[in-house]
């Protein structure tokens, strides 16, 4: 079946775009597939040229090529299956198999293109192309990818339009040429339709109801915003652009015991939320402490206030004491406390919650320096108090010491010292050697390592600080909100350390924790916030964009016979950000804004965003309903005006030439005589009606046969393209066409 060039071009472009989208989406998973997509595009060029020349592979050769491709694919899949660190064995099934479908779909497209094609084959190609897009969308969601998808949608619409013509034509070459002729015009129309469809589809998309379901691992497309993880589990495998969220996480009112507001809280104040010990490799997940580990340390329990008191009894740390009044925006997000948590062993509990009856209940201390409420119902609070030492006391250097739960058994610390994956451990050893060589770690530290490579407990603090400095100041790693993966077969932290070398605070802190564990240094990851936004009179806002992660290392108390330990906080995240802080230009600002809107409201739209958007729009409408209605009226008027002007210009530009003025005059004459034309009536129908009317109304100047003869002449002239002479017209009108 012959095909028009415009149609072929549109189909090949559509298919090429779907392959480009798929290749792009595979970059983070299987890079060889991205390279392979390049070869597929070359093969498509070849197929396009063959189509132009009307050549195709015979059935035998097509089957042979298909068989070879199938064998190669089988070998390739087999190699991945038997490779331990292959993506096939690291991602969960069946989602883990999705990246491996891409090359099969790509080769299927080429195989179909090389063979003779009928309508069914073209439909199959469109179907495969949609499958490619569906698969690509499942793997990738960044801004560039969305642009590719939009281009695909526009070209695909054009192609579908031409395909409609292609399959409708039945008479061969002439119609094919006609499709080529109208192909360009259809491109413009298709563009308008896809824009129109987009304008309707986007509100539909916003209105589509969503549930708070748990995402599939491979498809963890939750909101990629700064903030604590919604499910309490930091996921280091997630990729995409991390968007700073200006939403408020909680508020803090800081005051002195006498009620004076504190207005000079440190801008670098940390707020701890939860600590994590168990790391799941290669999935890149941290498990919260309360779920997995026993309590290795015994907290130096303050005065145990098990019963509520009518007055608020918080410890007094002297003149620098600050009382913090926490107001959580989201109920049930757990206690967030100023870090480090100040307390005196044997003193009062520094955290209390106001009860409805006016009394105050007190939290109990936890082994990892946090405080929790013993009663379950108090765990979901949104207001509580904490007493802390002010900055004047230089608390950051003062550590709180915890004794071991069982002084003779250090195995309780093993969960904090689990050996990381081999790749991370090797990398850590290389860094250790470099730090020693460069003098950042004293040589004696290396000499005091035991046979398994563990450092001496007395050196834990030195080594930890050196590694932290290496990550934050070494220059090899950069802070970035663009979370990328280079080799998904690797553990995310190893991929970060070895390949990408850029990421956010969770990656830095996790890397530090895992590297330190290589040397037997007990450590954990802490999530929380850093920084604050002063408002007024001792009120501070802490937003989700302040979310932060850092590491804590368990260091032994020197010269202590009781085997006491303290948590040393280390922040390995580089202070600078890769985000360009220069004032952006107009275009850059527009692009950033567009990117942000696309990311926030399309890619990462979730029920919360939906709700917020609905509320914002409703409020906006209520506030500006007059302006909005006025704007709609103005736009409608403008459109009507432009339409009218265009119509008028068109009329002026191309005056209508009346090819049958004698018939028009006849119609006008009959109308004046009392016989108006009916909309939609054909000339013949009008003539027959007029003849009947004239017969029923004798005495008119026109003979009843005149309209019929005039209609015959009109049809002969206009539709049969027969020349009509003036004499024939005269004859038809009984010698007077102007009657």
């Amino acid at each position: 079946m012959p095909t028009a060039f415009a149609f072929r071009l549109s189909v090949y472009l559509t298919l090429a775009l779907s392959i480009i989208a798929l290749g792009y989406s595979e970059w983070d998973y299987l890079r060889e597939v991205t390279v392979f997509s390049g070869f597929i595009l070359l093969a498509m060029l070849l197929a396009f040229e063959m189509d132009r020349r009307g050549r195709h592979l015979s059935l035998f050769w097509a089957n042979l090529v298909g068989g070879i491709i199938f064998l190669l694919a089988a070998v390739w899949l087999g190699r991945h299956y038997f490779e331990h660190d292959s993506l096939m064995n690291t991602l969960p099934w069946p989602a883990g198999g999705l990246p491996f479908l891409a090359p099969l779909l790509m080769t299927l497209i080429v195989a179909k293109l090389l063979r003779p094609k009928h309508n069914g084959d073209w439909w199959a190609l469109y179907g495969i192309s949609l499958c490619c897009i569906g698969l690509a969308v499942s793997l990738q969601e960044d801004f560039t990818f969305v642009i590719i998808i939009l281009i695909y949608a526009a070209v695909g619409t054009w192609s579908l339009t031409l395909f409609y013509f292609q399959r409708a034509v039945t008479d061969g070459t002439r119609s094919v040429a006609e499709i080529d002729r109208i192909g360009r015009r259809q491109a413009g129309r298709s563009l308008r339709w896809i824009v129109l469809a987009g304008l309707v589809a986007v509100p539909m998309f916003f209105l589509t109801p969503r549930t708070q379901g748990v995402s599939w691992e491979l498809f963890s497309r939750g909101k990629i915003e700064t903030g604590l993880p919604h499910d309490g589990t930091p996921d280091l495998s997630r990729t995409g652009q991390l968007t700073p969220s200006r939403e408020i996480a909680f508020e803090v009112y800081a005051s002195r015991p006498d009620g004076r507001p504190v207005q000079d809280l440190s801008p670098a104040q940390r707020w701890r939320s939860a600590a994590y010990v168990e790391y799941q490799s290669p999935r890149g997940l941290w498990t919260p402490n309360f779920r997995v580990v026993s309590k290795p340390l015994v907290p130096p329990t303050p005065t145990d206030l098990r019963t509520p008191t009518p007055n608020l009894l918080l410890p007094d740390f002297g003149p620098s004491t600050i009382r913090l009044d926490f107001r959580l925006v989201t109920r049930g997000s757990g206690l967030i406390l100023a870090d480090p948590v100040s307390f005196d062993p044997g003193g009062r509990t520094p955290v209390a919650i106001p009860l409805r009856n006016g009394n105050y209940a007190y939290a109990v201390q936890y082994w990892d320096t946090s405080f929790v409420f013993a009663q379950r119902e108090f765990r979901f609070v949104n207001r509580y108090f904490q007493s802390v030492r002010g900055p004047g006391n230089d608390l950051s250097d003062s550590l709180t010491w915890f004794p071991l739960a069982n002084p003779n058994d250090t195995t309780a610390l093993y969960p904090f010292m689990v050996m990381p994956p081999e790749g991370i451990a090797n990398h850590a050893r290389r860094i250790f050697a470099r730090l020693v060589a460069d003098g950042f770690i004293p040589r004696r530290v290396q000499e005091r390592r035991d046979a398994t490579g563990r450092c001496h407990p007395a050196d834990h603090a030195i080594v930890a600080q050196a590694f932290s400095d290496y990550l934050s100041f070494g220059g090899s790693y950069a802070y970035s909100l663009d979370l990328r993966r280079q080799d998904r077969s690797l553990d995310p932290v190893e991929d970060f350390l070895v390949n990408t070398r850029s990421g956010h605070c969770e990656r830095f802190a996790s890397a530090l924790v895992l590297m330190l564990r290589t040397f037997g240094i007990p450590s954990q990851l802490v999530l929380g916030y850093r920084g604050l936004d002063p408002v007024n009179e001792g009120r501070y806002l802490i937003r989700h964009e302040n979310a932060h992660a850092w590491a804590e290392v368990l260091v032994p108390k020197p010269d202590s016979s009781r085997r006491e330990y303290a948590w040393l906080a280390l922040d390995p995240t580089p202070g600078g950000s890769s985000v360009d802080n220069d004032e952006p230009g107009f275009l850059d600002a527009g692009a950033r804004q567009g990117k942000r809107l696309l990311t926030d409201y399309i890619i990462n739209l979730n029920p919360d965003t939906q709700k917020r958007l609905a509320e914002t729009l409703t409020q906006f409408f209520l506030d500006n309903w007059a302006k909005i209605l006025g704007g709609i009226a103005a736009i409608t008027s403008l459109i009507m005006l432009v339409s009218w002007l265009r119509h008028r210009r068109g009329m002026r530009k191309a005056p209508v030439v009346d090819a049958v003025p004698w018939f028009t005059r006849l119609v006008h004459t009959l109308r004046r005589a009392g016989l108006p034309e009916i909309p939609g009536e054909t000339p013949r129908e009008f003539a027959e009606r007029a003849a009947a009317w004239l017969q029923q109304n004798p005495g008119k100047a026109i003979d009843a046969s005149v309209p019929l003869r005039a209609a015959e002449l009109l049809y002969a002239l206009r539709y049969a393209e027969q020349p009509v002479t003036q004499a024939e017209i005269q004859k038809a009108f009984n010698g007077d066409p102007g009657t």
């Binding site: 469809a197 539909m204 549930t211 995402s215």
Partner: protein, 378 residues
Amino acid sequence: MSGRWHPTKAGVGVLVIAAIMLTAGLMKTINLLILFGDLLLVLMALNFWIARQTALSFRLLSPREPDLYAYRTARRTLVLENTGPRAASVEINERTDQHVWKQFVASVSSGGSRALSVTFLPLRRGEYPLIRTLSSGYPFGFVRYVWACPAPPLVVFPALGRIDSEPFRRWLKHGGDGEAYRRRTVSRTSPFAADLRGVRPFRSGDAPRQVHWRTSARRGELLVREYDSPEALDLILVLDSWLPSKAEPANRQDLEDAISQAGSILNFWCTTILSSRVALVLADSRTIEGRASPHLARKLLQALAKVNGSSEFRLDARSVCSRWPRAVRLLISSRSQPGSVLSHLRQFGGVWKHLAPQSDPTWYHPPQLSSHEKSARF
């Protein structure tokens, strides 16, 4: 005008794909999949709207249908006019019980028209109810909007044979075929000759009676009389469309032959003897009469096209026979023995000639049908 939607396989496929995308997107929280599914649904809705607008923007004009005769290929013309604001495409479908015509018109400019031709070979006379639709699936073909354009049924005239003028005249002049009137002259006036205008050379087929012997002798060649304007002679044709209640194919063939003969004679008469009057009396006692003209010929053929055979006999030619006493009276019957009909007709007076299925008049050449057409008749 009534329109309806027709989903296509492609449209159903796209709906399924959109549903899968939406389901997967919602289940796995993949927003781009949801957006893509929504986009496909909107494109589908857009197709609904544009296809309807496109189909309704066209008008179908049918110039006067050509005369259609059974077993004769005819070319019909339809005119498609785009009344919409922009160039558009449409598909026209026309269907009878014997033909299907489908044509896609890729582009008709705004306000423009396109003449479409279709050849039609009717394999029987009679009325063909015509179903004519305009449809459009523009721009994607996910759905088609079809609206029916009202169209009068096609009327196919019976197949016409050829009539030789002079032998026919002679046959008419000698009356009483097969009965006691064999030697009797039906009419003393030739239906095709009136005032003598002169003589002309003898041509094969000329009656020896018309030879002007005196002039021939004087000039030394055979010369025959030539008449000026033929005298108008009226014709009363009675068609006895008899068909037994349990008709055999042979009976039907006889009926079709009789109708074909009647049509041929009437057409010949109406187009040749323009000033005469012609009446056709049908078996259901209907009489169609008028002044001979092509228009009357069409009217008579139209009536013949709709004749159905019947075993009942209700011929009534009294009125026309009493008004046209000098008209040539002719009975064409599909019975092999039309004696009873003849005796019934004789009560209306005059001399009746008749043709029966086994008659094979030399002046009549039946329509030439190919073997394919013959086999398709019954």
